[in-house]
């Protein structure tokens, strides 16, 4: 942490020096906006149903994302039905790692919707730009205001209340922009009580409190270059996890970065953007509010990462490319201390992450070549180097005697795809190959209690790289009134890492029933299909529908856990002048391919109806939107395939929100 204190003053010094230089005027903002070499599918952080959504709710509106939910807060995103170890989750390309061994703090829990502009989701090896992956990448893009010719202030304030869990939130953001200097700031508070399920029963320990703030300052050092510093501070306190035997007392994250961006008017390289970053996450649990606990146990965790990400965008004629260099160093520490009922007795101590260092470097490239006006080839690859070191390797030696303290891995990745446009039809086909290294928990975890299957998990430092072979295809038709698209992907994953019951050893956490060790299956297969359709019934009445299905099996043709059953969503959206009304119906069918072996039981089908209405108007120059709606209107009692411990989801929830923006 001392390092940070040194780095930042130095950066500020640098900025002050630059501030005194007089530079040639130019409109970087315009160029910054124009240079979008590879088009990204950008979405606003709001869903059709609800404009004031949490990051989790927003991600949930994407086809290939599902969630493991341990409560009302901090949902773990599953990309292509694969858990977070298999995807890279970054904030503006920065790697941040949660500090909780129980995955109570996915990275998405450390940001807030009002400091993000978009979330960039890439499936499979296409996502290898940010680091080695199997499932793909989720990049949370920070909100950045462009430079403007004159001085300009803009901002938004949003407040709302949700009746089911008495959630009250206030989100505010303000930005100032000028020709040479931009400042962005945001602040948010959310506070929620326990929610009630579809039987109107209170789900205890489901409250949360979240505070998030961010600042970003950019300064134009020349017409074609700019420096930018960013920081996000997030604090969650008293967060209940009804599906776990403990809650969160406090988690804090500080995510900082400083970047330099250079634009080029001529030549192959168009943009070069380099960023150094530092982030520190701390996470402390609390089980004192659970009287059923025999033993008080606090499980503090710390995760500190610093790194570098440098990318260049290239363009020459029909060819464009992105090259990215990633390097980071992460130290993950998690402690487990048990206090016996007789407090005079000695406490018991062990490391669940015995000071595990991960160093990772990768060089990745994505290329895109327009062969003709209606066809394009994308191809790329990455080469990564992953190094792990366990400081207190004696913990790992208990189950893996004599395993080396350090381990290096080479992680290659390759992908290629072809896109074809024939009149109103579009087709694509692609394939990929890539390795990933085991996560800190999979490699070095020590008695990590998983309350889903109630096993203690032991990492294995000698696990082989997980190797993914992937194929994907899509076909679509689009005209002014109708659109339909089908997407499929198939992953054949060698050395698929999963916890298997160990016949030896006895559990350490008193709730557990046994010990599981992370082992490699010979292979696993995952198949995902999504079907999207839209139809404009009238000029102001739109229909949309989505069906997704996934199937995943292990090497003995048994089912893998956390695979979403057939699910559907259909919505109608009607607009009239300043009024808008939306209704949606979504649900899952019965989970027939569940996996008792991995602690799952069959989840019954459910169907949820949502409705909302909004009205927009102006107060002076201030654009105002008022929204009222209800989620789970019929108050259905349900839990989904991925709800930890079959914790029931929220029952009927009436929400209101008001947004002012200028």
């Amino acid at each position: 942490m001392k390092k940070l204190h040194i780095i930042f003053p130095v950066l500020f010094l640098g900025m002050n020096v630059n501030a005194q230089n007089t530079q040639v005027q130019g409109d970087t903002a315009k160029i910054l906006e124009e240079v979008k070499v590879i088009a990204l599918a950008r979405k606003k952080i709001q869903t059709e149903m609800k404009m004031a959504v949490s990051i989790d709710e927003f991600l949930a509106s994407s086809d290939n994302i599902g969630f493991i939910k341990r409560g009302a807060y901090a949902w773990e995103p599953l990309l292509n039905n694969m858990s977070t170890e298999r995807s890279t989750i970054t904030i503006d390309g920065m790697h941040v790692f949660g500090a909780c061994t129980d995955k109570m703090d996915p990275i998405t829990s450390y940001v807030e919707s009002n400091n993000l502009s978009t979330i960039d989701i890439k499936s499979g090896q296409e996502g290898s730009l940010h680091g080695a992956t199997v499932a793909g990448s989720i990049d949370l893009k920070r909100k950045t205001t462009p430079f403007t010719p004159g001085k300009k202030y803009s901002g938004a304030y949003q407040t709302g209340f949700e009746f089911n869990n008495n959630q009250f939130f206030n989100l505010g953001n303000l930005s100032y922009s000028s020709d040479k200097f931009v400042a962005d700031g945001s602040i948010s508070f959310r506070k929620a009580g326990n929610y009630y399920d579809g039987n109107n029963e209170e789900v205890n320990h489901s409250q949360y409190n979240k505070f998030n703030t961010s600042v970003g300052l950019a300064y134009k050092t020349s017409p074609f270059s700019a420096v930018r510093v960013d920081a996000i501070f997030d604090k969650a306190k008293n967060v209940g996890f009804p599906a776990l035997p403990m809650d969160l007392w406090l988690s804090r994250a500080l995510i900082t970065s400083a970047s330099y961006k250079q634009l080029f008017q001529h030549g192959l390289i168009r943009v070069w953007d380099t960023k150094v970053y530092y982030n520190a996450v701390e996470h402390y649990m609390d089980d004192t509010k659970r009287p059923e606990n025999l033993v008080h146990m606090d499980m503090p965790g710390w995760s500190t990462t610093y790194g570098l990400v440098s990318r260049a965008n290239l363009k020459h004629g029909d060819y464009s490319a992105e090259i990215q260099l990633n390097a980071y160093n992460n130290l993950s520490i998690a402690e487990m201390r048990m206090y016996p009922q007789d407090r005079s007795k000695r406490t018991m101590f062990a490391y669940s992450w015995p000071w595990v260092t991960t160093k990772f470097t990768s060089l990745a490239m994505n290329n895109s070549w327009d062969i003709s006006e209606n066809s394009r080839v994308n191809f790329g690859g990455s080469l990564g180097y992953n190094y792990n070191r366990s400081k207190y390797v004696e913990f790992n030696w208990i189950f893996h005697p004599g395993t080396p303290q350090e381990k290096s891995r080479i992680l290659p990745g390759l992908h290629a795809s072809y896109e074809l446009q024939v009149k109103q039809f579009s087709f694509s086909a692609g394939s990929g190959y890539g390795h990933r290294a085991p996560s800190v928990s999979e490699g070095y975890g020590y008695y990590i209690y998983n309350s889903f299957d109630r096993y203690d998990y032991i990492g294995n430092p000698d696990l082989k790289n997980e190797i993914s072979y992937e194929a994907n295809a899509s076909a679509g038709f689009k005209n002014e009134k109708t659109g339909i698209e089908a997407k499929v992907n198939y992953f054949y994953i060698q050395n698929y890492i999963i916890g298997r019951i160990l016949s030896l050893g006895s559990p350490m956490n008193y709730q557990s029933v046994g010990v599981k060790g992370y082992t490699s299956l010979n292979h696993a297969r995952i198949f995902n299909i999504a079907l999207n359709a839209r139809y404009n019934i009238l000029q102001h009445l739109h229909w949309k529908g989505t069906i997704t299905y996934a199937r995943a099996t292990d090497d003995k043709d048994g089912n893998l856990p956390f695979i979403r059953p057939l699910s559907y969503q259909t919505s109608l959206h009607f607009m009239y002048k300043k009024f808008g009304i939306q209704t949606s119906l979504n649900g899952d069918l019965t989970q027939s391919h569940y996996s008792p072996e991995y602690g799952e039981d069959q989840t019954p089908a459910y169907m949820i109806l949502n409705i909302s209405a909004n009205y927009s108007f102006n107060i002076k120059n201030c654009k105002t939107v008022l929204q009222v709606g209800a989620e789970n209107l019929l108050n259905e009692y349900y839990s989904t395939y991925a709800d930890w411990g079959n914790i029931p989801r929220m029952g009927r929830n009436i929400f209101t929100s008001l947004k002012f923006s200028f």
Binding site: A19, R337, K345, M348, P401
Partner: protein
Amino acid sequence: MKKAIFFFTTLCLSVMSCTKEKTDYEAEINTVVTEHYEFKEAAAINNDGYDISIEALNGTFYKGYNEIRLKISGDHTNEDVSAVTFLPVMTGADGGRTSCPHRYALVYNADAEHFPGYAVFTSESSANETWELYISFTINNQIHSVKQTITVQEQPNKNLNMTTFTGKDGEQYFIALVAPQKPKVAENELVAGIYKFNKPATPPSGSFPDPSQFSYTEVSNYTLQLDPRMPEPSMGNHSSINNKDLTRQSDGLYHGVVNYTMTGNWTLNFIMLNQNGKILKGTEVPTDFTPGVEGVKSELYIDILF
């Protein structure tokens, strides 16, 4: 902009201090476990112009296993010294005298320049229990006998505990932990001494002490089966894997392997088998995971703590 920078720097500084300190794992074990490496003089006797020095770890005799180093200095060479004997004797409140497992005849170790030995003190010195060392040696065919009262202190290190029991064969046995002094959450080599009291066949004769009345042997070819468990109710009879039973090695001590999965209280549950594989003491402990129930101990066990 300056204001913004000021704000930003302040923010960075204010939030970077951790809320809970990380545990200094190595230091923590040190506070619970006293570890001694250094041999210092624990007793000194001057007799007939010879200085007899008995060294023990930390210069103190503790209850349990004590490695000792005996040195005799005077105007002689150590090769002249022969028939060195060492006998600790405890006098109880009733005047009864017993000893404890020890090495009686000491043989000079020329490389280390001392007479190595050991004593497994079975109790601490108190008003009612007095420990004395009886030492005799021969130089130039002249026998010298000395005795010295010593103080046996409580063993502060819970990893060097001992136990005394009567086996199913009617014999009295002693098991004393020798190593590790400072266990780790890891695989630890577990070393223990197992001794048997040799019941005297004849009544005492000659001048006190008659060594035949105070004779102990290091038992050989026995096996000490090991099942380490955490006794705390909240630990639900937690155990570890890859442990190895203790067998006798060339140093006369029993060596095995114990794995500790976390710090805290552990019970070493033993079953002692004789050379024929017959159980002399100890019972199998349940292997079930029983949260909330204090772990059942074998009838032969030693508790440790680190």
